[in-house]
Amino acid sequence: MSSTREPATDLSGLVARVVAGDEAAARDMVERLWPQIIRIVRRHLPRRSSEEDLAQEVFMKVFARLGQWRDEMPLEHWVSRVAVNTCLDALRWDKRRPELRWADLSETEAEVLDNVLHDESDREAGDAMASRELAHKLLQTLKPADRLVLTMMDMEGRSVADVQRATGWSATLVKVRAFRARRKLRKAFEVLEKSPGRAQLN
């Protein structure tokens, strides 16, 4: 087995070396893909899962299938698809999708929710971190594919074409899933508003 130490500049060459079993090239590949993969994993991480374990699973799949990659498609897009589908599989394993109630929210999350439900002005919803936590909690009540599509489109601002490329779904399927997921979120907001904790606050 070779263990060359020169920096890999040519991506196709690097891939070929990894496929041939070159450990140094594999190490270069891990360092090169780490930021992209960990970003995707963090956005779609299931509850109670370790981001490092899931990232490792993604890398294992990337290495196992690297021989199938053809350079007509940018490597980043191909890796993104593997990562997104691995995250989707991980989300599917997490069968429990608890209904969110007002009492489950922190004080700042409750304030943000109150703001988005009742403030008609264009004022910002409030604390960005609390908004993100609340959005994640709401997304966890959805089915994995619905959660994925709304995370990509509404939280990351990705287009239908981007979601298509990352998942392999058709444009119609992406649009239908997004439409249904938003409808389910409307119901989740209604449930939250009627939940007992909310009644006590008023």
């Binding site: 450990e23 988005v116 919803a125 960005a128 939280m155 979120l185 409307r186 907001f189």
Partner: protein, 99 residues
């Protein structure tokens, strides 16, 4: 409460403004772990291939055996019952093999 997607849109816009956690280099030892697993997975997959070939071979052998029994059922049942079309000396020599 509004009946459209406004609450979700407003929340998603606010959430998108939250700063992302910094992404540095991979954690210490991460690349080593990935590479070690990748290498061991290669060996495991070789064993898995051999394992599946063995089971397939056994399955094919079982099908051939069942087919042979089905096709030669008359001769076999006749042989067991002592009523066989096999030549006498052949029957005798097979009988001698059985203690």
């Amino acid at each position: 409460m509004k009946t459209n997607d406004a609450p979700w849109n407003k929340l998603a816009q606010a959430a998108a403004r939250a700063p992302e956690r910094e992404i540095g280099e991979s954690p210490m030892g991460f690349a080593t772990r990935v590479i070690a697993n990748w290498k061991s997975q290669g060996t495991e997959s070789l064993w898995k291939t051999l394992d599946s070939f063995t089971w397939r071979g056994l399955a094919v052998a079982a099908v051939i055996l069942a087919g042979s029994v089905a096709l030669g059922y008359d001769a076999l049942s006749g042989f067991i019952a002592g009523d066989t079309s096999l030549p006498e000396d052949m029957v005798q020599s097979i009988s001698n093999l059985i203690p």
